[in-house]
């Protein structure tokens, strides 16, 4: 059975919110330190549930689950902070809000703010 996971990217404001959560040790630094992230690993069952709930979702060559709504990723981070955990219960809590996320995803599929170029 493959090990599936979601990647939560961390910018400065997210780093601040993680402070004191006990998850600092799980922060990974990639690409010569240019990227900070944490990985939320999920069971096969949760992976399947996720793919069935969000039709854009897919798994990539590293078994990362990708192409879920941005609203999902936002809620995932919120739940990580709230539960101070990276276990299955985090994603389950996000999936419990699937309807709400789908509503948000509908709007975000029309418009995502264009980033400022450095």
């Amino acid at each position: 059975m493959a090990d599936y996971f979601l990647v939560v990217l961390l910018d400065d404001s997210r780093m601040a919110k993680l402070e004191g959560s006990g998850l600092e040790k799980d922060i990974k630094y990639m690409f010569g330190g240019e990227l900070r992230l944490i990985e939320v690993h999920v069971s096969d069952e949760i992976k399947n549930k996720l793919l069935n709930t969000f039709d854009t979702a897919r798994t990539d060559s590293r078994n990362a689950i990708t192409d879920v709504p941005v609203a999902f990723m936002r809620e995932l981070f919120n739940q990580v902070v709230e539960k101070k955990s990276l276990g299955d219960e985090v994603v389950e809590a996000v999936l419990a809000k699937a309807d709400e996320i789908k509503e948000l995803a509908k709007k975000e599929s029309e418009f995502l703010p264009v980033p400022e170029l450095a």
Partner: protein
């Protein structure tokens, strides 16, 4: 020339198919008094979203990308393809290509074999179909399964039974039941919209361009993605394979067709590859970005065959194949394309690689593994060379980063390429294809037509 020098191969089938009438007077005569039919997109059998437009097949056939195919296939030809992946003239070909219409439309048209049908695109005459046979697809779902294979019939590479999560399977499942078989001829050349126009190199023009540039050996890079640095390294390094010197040229050939939500817009894909060149990461005298119209079937090993055919027809000597080539989901073995090109897949009719069977291909496979960032080497490293733990990167992981508004580090994506993404993001209010893009794209298509 060294005896090790590789020559440019002939088109698949021995000669380039070109079925384009450029003289409007002749075209007008050809269509006089003929019944007409407006080309319609194939709609998803459940959702009604466009999943294919046969106009792209007509373009790729008539400009020779699919040589030696000349039109919509007869029932016997489709049967032969499903059994042995060969045309009736013996040359290998992976997919059924048909002009399908509904029973109601056929009844309304009242055409029969021997008739010439004028095909309109965007309300302008575009092509003709000289009907040789009319046949019925008895069961489109069965056709879809036979097209891609099943775990029972193709145990070497098919791991899961195909279903509606597979966009290629959906195309065949969604076909109309009646097939008008016969040759296509374009009688009114479409004009490509910007930015696609500057990337349009049909096989004859591609071969002429290679001559102009002095490219004897050319390696093709298949793409349906905005390039990240991993792709760039794959291209640069695969190009070292050549004959007595590295390949003279790298042809990027983007498959342009119906999009899936979450893909990058085609405009960003072609201009993103161009940015690799304008940014100087690969010199422009060694790099050419081009397009081919085709609604991807995501048939992994089978798709690699059509890729080989397209690029041999364009004049390439080599073709890069990677992991999960033209794949979606876990239907096929991750390496099934490389299995096909190194050993063959007997259940698909290949007891040997497609280059080693009669009426096969001449283009040489270059089976690459992957490049990813190695924090120890501090560079993009090849999976089979670097002995450290590397940081793997996938296109969809990158998409997630982009969606969250995080600019990827330079070692992941070149800033020039990212700029292209942002340019089209501004244009469409969105960095990827959303439903609006998919539907508009199928309305606007990549081309416009003038009055004849």
């Amino acid at each position: 020339m060294s005896r090790f020098s590789i020559e440019r191969p002939l088109p698949h089938g021995g000669r380039l198919i070109e079925r384009v009438v450029r003289d409007p007077e002749r075209a007008k005569k050809m269509i006089k008094g003929c019944p007409t039919f407006d080309i319609k997109p194939t709609l998803h059998y459940e959702t009604g979203v466009p999943v294919r437009n046969v106009y792209r097949e007509i373009m790729s056939i008539c400009y020779g990308f699919f040589s030696p195919v000349e039109g919509s296939m007869s029932q016997a030809e489709v049967e032969r393809i499903l059994k042995e992946r060969r045309l009736l003239n013996e040359w290998i070909f992976p997919f059924p290509l048909v002009f399908d219409i509904s029973k109601e439309d056929l009844k309304k048209l009242g055409v029969s074999s021997g008739d010439r049908l004028v095909l309109n695109l965007k309300e302008k005459p575009f092509a003709v179909l000289d009907i040789e046979e009319i046949w019925e697809i008895s069961d489109t779902e069965e056709l879809a399964h036979r097209t891609f294979g099943t775990p029972e019939d193709n145990p070497e590479v098919v791991k899961e039974r195909f279903d509606k999560k597979h966009p290629g399977w959906v195309i065949y499942k969604s076909l109309n039941p009646m097939v008008l078989a016969g040759k296509y001829t374009i009688i009114n050349e479409p004009i490509f919209r910007s930015p696609f126009d500057r990337f349009w190199y049909p096989p004859r023009k591609a071969r002429e361009e290679f001559d102009k540039r002095g490219w004897r050996t050319v390696i093709n890079h298949q793409t349906r993605n905005v390039p990240h640095v991993g792709h760039e390294f794959l291209m640069k390094n695969a190009a070292y394979t050549g004959d007595t010197e590295p390949c003279n040229g790298i042809l990027v050939n983007a498959i342009i067709g119906v999009k899936r939500r979450g893909d990058y817009p085609d405009q960003a894909i072609v201009e993103g590859h161009e940015a690799v060149e304008t940014g100087g990461y690969i010199k422009s005298d060694r790099h050419l970005t081009s397009i081919c119209l085709w609604d991807m079937r995501y048939g992994n090993p089978l798709e690699s065959l059509i890729h080989g055919i397209i690029r041999q027809n364009m004049g390439c000597t080599h073709h890069m194949f990677g992991r999960d080539h033209a794949a979606v989901g876990d239907y096929y073995d991750k390496w099934s394309t490389q299995i096909l090109w190194t050993k063959g897949i007997p259940s698909f009719g290949f007891n040997a690689p497609p280059t080693d069977v009669p009426y096969g291909l001449q283009i040489r496979p270059q089976n690459m593994r992957e490049f990813s960032y190695c924090p120890t080497c501090k560079e993009m490293a090849y999976s089979e060379t670097c002995g450290h733990k590397r940081e793997k990167l996938s296109g969809s992981f990158l998409r997630g980063m982009v969606a969250e508004g995080v600019q990827p580090p330079v070692i992941i994506m070149r800033p020039e390429v990212y700029k292209v993404i942002v340019k089209w993001w501004k244009h469409f209010n969105y960095p990827f294809c959303n439903e609006k893009y998919v539907i508009n794209k199928e309305k606007e298509l990549e081309v416009d037509l003038k009055d004849l």
